[in-house]
Amino acid sequence: MTRLADSHLLRAAVLPVTLLVVWQLAVMLHTPSPRTPLPTHVVETAWTLLKTGDLPLALLQSFGRVLAGFAWAAAFGLVLGALMGTYRAFDRALDPLVESFRPIAPIALLPLAILWFGTGTPAAAFIVGYAAFFPMIVNTIHGVKSVDPQLVRAARTLGVGRFTILRTVVLPGAMPYVFVGARLALGVAWTSIIAAELAVGAKAGGGSTGGIGQMMFVFYAYSVDLNGIIVCMVSVGIVAMIIDRGLRRLEYWMLPWKR
């Protein structure tokens, strides 16, 4: 790492570290209670949870559900979005439906999800997929519509058929927007998995649905361990950042013409 990056990192760390120190001192000067998390205790708890493998397992379970939900959201979002962006008839028919469901928060579907799919992975993945579907479809539609019509005309004059144009011109042209949609979709998917698992976990009690959200619920409702909850929160943030960075890498690699 260069000296410049070092100094940047250093400066960026000043504020958080100061806050942590103030927090630690503030709690230590009063009587510590289980209700007040302490930075040092958080680190301890994190270490224990890592050592036992509970935290990685929970994160992995949640991540699996996010991927499952995202996969179907991306598939439906891409296909429907491409159709709606290309054909006016599809747009007219589906737009009211999409726009009227879009404002309904994913978590509002929880009762349905639990009644239909129980308290396991399918219910959580359903919520996540629902949440991820909208950014995906909205951005795909926009991407398809923003493809330069001149490129489509050029392809037609080269004797290329309609469907091939959709595949070789419209979709590649829409890719930058699709990636924006995917990043937003994975973001909300990861956000809503916590909510879904928290709620599903509440319904399932201390049962074994797993996932980071349920782990939080257990810390909250059973062991009343606020340090554990903080550990979960921090790890959720870190995983979200890694997912986003990963997608950006993928985009950089897949869209060399946009660099």
Binding site: D148, Q150, L151, R153, A154, A155, R156, T157, L158, G159, V160, G161, T164, T168, V169, P172, G173, M175, L255, P256, W257
Partner: protein
């Protein structure tokens, strides 16, 4: 009609072409083209000049099959034009290169994806290599359009249009966005690639739209001079200058007289259009 006798049947035949637009906001009717009759001979290099708004691009789009006339008929080899086809290559003013494809991928687009494409990968690669040689883009094969200069983009678009080996090349002000020097060089290149030194029958038929009268005189066998409101053919001027044409021909008095003659035909409208705008 004497100039048409060198080929038995015209390659392109336009009869009574009219085009009306209705403005969606006001419902106002505009006559873009009014009963245009035009024959383009096989292997002919035809230029169309005229003031802005005379419908030259509309004519080109109709021949390309991208637009339909309101009245009249267009035929190629006697068959009506019903849509775009690989037999008519188009070079657009803004090039319309696929930004996510490299130079070689852009060039191979037609042979690879067109309806009924049968070329093997090897044949395609060979074709692309020849075209890259032809338009002198060696070394830029794997570059993306945004990495190219204007002149290189132009040559790439030209190679892409040639890749299908079309009988007819349609060019819509292809050199308009280039600087003057590049334009002059590419004009000479275009004549070389068109096959100025070959026998007339082996050449492609070219319809070339331009604002530049000197460009038209340098390139064309015949020049269609159009006028606007409504768009129609004002006059068709044969260019009697010998081929192959060398740059020195621009200094020839016949060259300059013809430029002046055509300018006189359109200057009133050009002034009017400029001042109105």
């Amino acid at each position: 009609m004497e100039t048409l006798t060198r080929a038995s049947q015209p390659k392109l035949k336009l009869r009574g072409i009219g085009k009306e637009f209705v403005l969606p906001r006001t419902g106002e009717h505009t006559v873009a083209l009014d009963s245009v009759d035009l024959d383009v001979a096989r292997g002919e290099f035809l230029c169309i000049v005229g003031p802005s708004g005379c419908g030259k691009t509309t004519i080109l789009n109709m021949i390309a099959g991208l637009a339909k006339p309101t009245s009249g008929t267009l035929t190629i080899d006697g068959k009506p034009i019903e849509g775009p086809g690989a037999d008519r290559g188009v070079v657009f003013q803004d090039y319309a290169l696929f930004p996510w494809k490299t130079v070689r991928e852009n060039i191979e687009f037609g042979p690879r994806y067109r309806i009924g494409a049968t070329m093997s990968r090897q044949e395609r690669n060979e074709r692309v290599r020849q075209l890259i040689d032809l338009v002198a883009l060696n070394g830029a094969e794997n570059k993306y359009p945004y990495e190219l200069s204007g002149g290189m983009r132009q040559r790439c678009a030209f190679a892409r249009a040639l890749a299908n080996e079309p009988d007819v090349l349609l060019m819509d002000e292809p050199f308009a966005a280039l600087d003057a020097q590049t334009r002059v060089i590419l004009q000479e290149e275009l004549l070389r690639i068109w096959g100025e030194d070959d026998a007339g029958a082996d050449r492609r038929t070219v319809v070339f739209i331009t604002h530049g009268i000197d460009e038209a005189v340098f390139l064309a066998d015949r020049i269609v001079v159009m006028s606007s409101h409504p768009g129609r053919i004002n006059e068709i001027k044969p260019v009697a200058l010998p081929r192959p044409r060398k740059p020195e021909i621009r200094a020839d008095t016949r060259f300059q007289e013809l430029v002046e003659e055509i300018w006189q035909l359109i200057r009133h409208e050009a002034y009017a259009a400029t001042i109105k705008a």
